[in-house]
């Protein structure tokens, strides 16, 4: 088995679309990540976001101050309205991030970049815990994750460790070295191990990897000084950082003058560690190919990752391996991917999507994603979304997808098409006889289309 354009669209992209002729080779497929679509659906990046966050922050502080000082009612009212208006801007940003993420995946030639971004952003799951942080999701995706999906893993790791969203999510911002300048002045402050632990357990070596509790503690000390807030973004504060040298995984890092370069050196070694290669190759193969990937495929991907930690070579090794094209064992799609796949199969006109108002976006995407158990970039823990088919295909998730598949197509096109015309271009491989029969026998176009989209053949990649 080898590269097949339709199969690639379903397994490695966001689904087949009559609007795009799929790339015909692995080389062309890899090149498809450099499409135009991302610039057409931009995210709020830090430079644009920062003044908005500061403005919102200031408006809220002003409102609270006036309330506390029992200022005249009219002033309080005006301040409250100003703060509410500023918060509405934040909501707009969140909604637009979701809209543009979906737009990228639904209208790209292949959706390969979106799939890689989704996978790696989930690997490095980070999210806002409250006001002013959630809005950084777009910046996180576009600066920490996306530039490196076919680059070097160490660059992605370092970018993630320096991103405010991750530092905030895993409680790094308050971590202070006990022997740092600040720690000695104020002994009550302490180290927080959360980020260090997840870096080793989830992001690099993997649970069961060759590290000890002492290594976690050492890494936590190395990471002190890494902080961020919503006003200035990322900062390295040497005064809060524990002086070295730090013993970590049998090596010594840094000296008595704490510096960001020590963090980078440790991150690079963790990123290139053989245990990391194995952990990442297995995880990627499980996501894209099967819950039980072949040892040959994983070994080839480990080799691709190599000593340099190349994600480009690891990804290419996967695409060039015969076992990656085995149609058996296709995983259940994640919900975002499932939705994008339906939009593509329906050949939804782009202007219909672009013109969707907030209410429609809520009804068609935001709420249904929650019902399908995968609210937009909200996860229950740093280990990200579930991957095993049995966890994804649960009764309530199936019901939510069925409910959506019965209603959403109406909003995607003007006048529902004959489901029999959609069927041939929706799936990767042969059309199961039972599905062909069901689509033909459905009593309405709604139900016929829903049969296609909830069928195992469509929901598996």
């Amino acid at each position: 088995m080898a590269f097949d354009p339709n199969f690639a669209a379903v397994r490695f992209g966001t689904g087949r679309s009559p609007a795009h002729s799929p790339p015909q080779s692995v080389e062309a497929w890899l090149k498809s990540v450099n499409g135009q679509i991302e610039s057409e659906y931009p995210f709020y990046t830090w430079d644009v976001l920062q003044p908005i966050l500061v403005n919102s922050h200031t408006a809220r502080k002003n409102m609270l101050a006036l309330r506390r000082s029992n200022a005249p009612e009219a002033d309080q009212k005006a301040a409250t309205q100003a703060s509410k208006a500023a918060d509405r801007v934040l909501k707009t940003i969140d909604r637009e991030t979701m809209k543009h993420f979906i737009g990228r995946g639904a209208f790209d030639t292949t959706g390969f970049a979106t799939r890689l971004t989704l996978f790696w952003a989930d690997h490095f799951s980070a999210q806002g815990k409250g006001r002013y942080w959630t809005e950084m999701t777009g910046d996180y995706l576009d600066t920490a994750i996306r530039p490196h999906v076919l680059g070097r893993f160490e660059d992605m790791l370092v970018a993630v460790l320096m991103h405010p969203l991750m530092l905030h999510y895993l409680d790094q911002t308050q971590s202070v070295g006990p022997n740092s300048t600040r720690g000695r002045q104020k002994p009550g402050l302490g180290v927080n191990e959360n980020l260090a632990r997840e870096v080793m357990e989830l992001h690099t070596l993997g649970v069961g990897g060759p590290y000890t509790q002492e290594d976690v503690q050492s890494l936590a000390l190395v990471l002190t000084g890494m902080t961020a807030n919503t006003n200035v973004g990322f900062r390295y504060r040497a005064k809060f950082a524990e002086p070295g040298p730090h013993a970590l995984l049998g090596q010594s890092y840094g000296d008595e003058r704490p510096a960001l370069k020590t963090v980078v050196a440790v991150a690079k070694d963790l990123a290139r560690h053989p245990a990391t290669a194995r952990h990442l190759a297995l995880k990627m193969a499980k996501h894209f190919v099967s819950d039980t990937p072949s040892e040959g495929l994983v070994a080839a991907m480990v080799e691709g990752f190599g000593e340099k930690g190349s994600l480009a070579d690891m990804t290419e090794a996967m695409l060039r391996h015969a076992d990656a094209w085995n149609p058996a064992g296709g995983n259940v799609k994640w919900s975002l991917e499932f939705m994008m796949g339906v939009m593509r199969a329906m050949n939804m006109p782009r202007h219909r999507f672009d013109e969707m108002n907030p209410k429609k976006l809520f009804q068609l995407f935001q709420f249904p994603l929650r019902a399908m158990g995968q609210p937009f970039f909200e996860v229950s823990g740093p280990d990200g979304l579930m991957e095993e088919d049995a966890d994804l295909m649960r009764p309530h998730i199936l019901a939510a997808r069925l409910d959506w598949a019965l209603r959403a197509p109406d909003a995607f096109v003007r006048g529902l098409p004959d489901p029999r015309k959609i069927l041939p271009n929706a799936l990767a491989g042969d059309i199961p006889k039972s599905l062909r029969f069901a689509v033909k026998s459905a009593e309405s176009r709604h139900e016929g289309l829903a049969m296609i989209f909830v069928s195992p053949a469509f929901q598996r990649r």
């Binding site: 029992n70 019965l406 039972s434 459905a442 009593e443 909830v454």
Partner: protein, 419 residues
Amino acid sequence: MLDRRAFLNGFVGCSVAAHPLVTPIAFAGSPDSGRLGDNRLVVIILRGAMDGLDVVQPYGDGELAKVRRKLLVGPDNGALDLDGFFSLNKSFDLLHPMWRAGELGFAHAVSTPYRDKRSHFDGQDLLEAGTGSVEERGDDGWLNRMLQHVPGLTSGTAYSVGLDQMAVLAGPADVSDWAPDVGVTLSPQGKRLLELVMHDDPLFQQASSEAMEILTSLSTNPGPMDGGEDLMMMGDDMMGGDMKEAPRNIKRISNGTVGRLAEFTANRLRADARIAAFSLGGWDTHGGQARGMNRAGANLAVAIMRLRQDLGPVWAKTTVLAMTEFGRTVYENGTAGTDHGTGGVAVFAGGAVRGGQVITDWPGVREEDRYKGRDLMPTRDVRSFAGWAMRGLYGFDRDIIENVIFPGLDMGEDPGLLA
């Protein structure tokens, strides 16, 4: 034994962090019926930190009124007197008859072992993990750990209800989940075709047939009350026709998401399910607390009321436990609200509880009686109430409860919350 002082300061549960998990059979105290018997347990997680001092108001402790000038307390200000010392926030109107009938009670000045950081996220994580500290938290919740010790547990015994992920039920034991906000309208022909489409994929076939079974049972077998009319009438009855302002609001809640959560939970518990959990939010009342409390309190009241009505005779065998991540400051802030605190209230209800009582070792609310000078001092671990409920309802060994389900918990004396 746990030192009470140590609990007050939050230093508990460090020593038994990793109790070796032994197979269920090794525990002589596990229920051996293979099922959980007839008793039902519903856990409601109140997200956002409910202000226990405003829900169950210690108006008899004259100190509270001194630091709460806008958040008025006591029967003189419209609250419902409970026992001459405590009064119930008026947003819980609907439940006052249940208190009188001995089907509703409260535990006051309780908390999880969580201290000082007062973060919703960490606080809820700990409440649902049931461990002694955030650091000891594993991947499973305490209700799931209880289920792991039920031999022969079958699918459909426990339900996680609603769109919120219920960490309290997460873990290796088989838990069903359902969000009653999802309704599928599929023709009979569509249902048959769906079966056909799913037939050859066992995983999809299973998920699909379970989903269809639930949807069918919901549409053909509605609860004793379908909609809000009956509830309103019953409310009027129970209140002696004294519900002047509530009905519209109550009806809306009962027909909305909250009503559906309770309706579905009751639907499952009337059949094979024994355990269910869902969450209710809206308790983070930093400003304009009276308004926020009206909303959140009415939601909780309607949820409990609908459980009672939809469960019918099964209510007699039901225990509802509602718990929150932490309480709120004793004093009110500048915006007629309260900020994150420590000690608070847990609510228990059901035909199986001994209601009509506020169980508490009352610490007082003067500045020197408070935790860190600001919060209600917790005098008992809220986990012990869940522990005693499990013991009373299902006969779990104290050893399993204190070492496995709630690692490091000292259950203490039986607080007597069950009838």
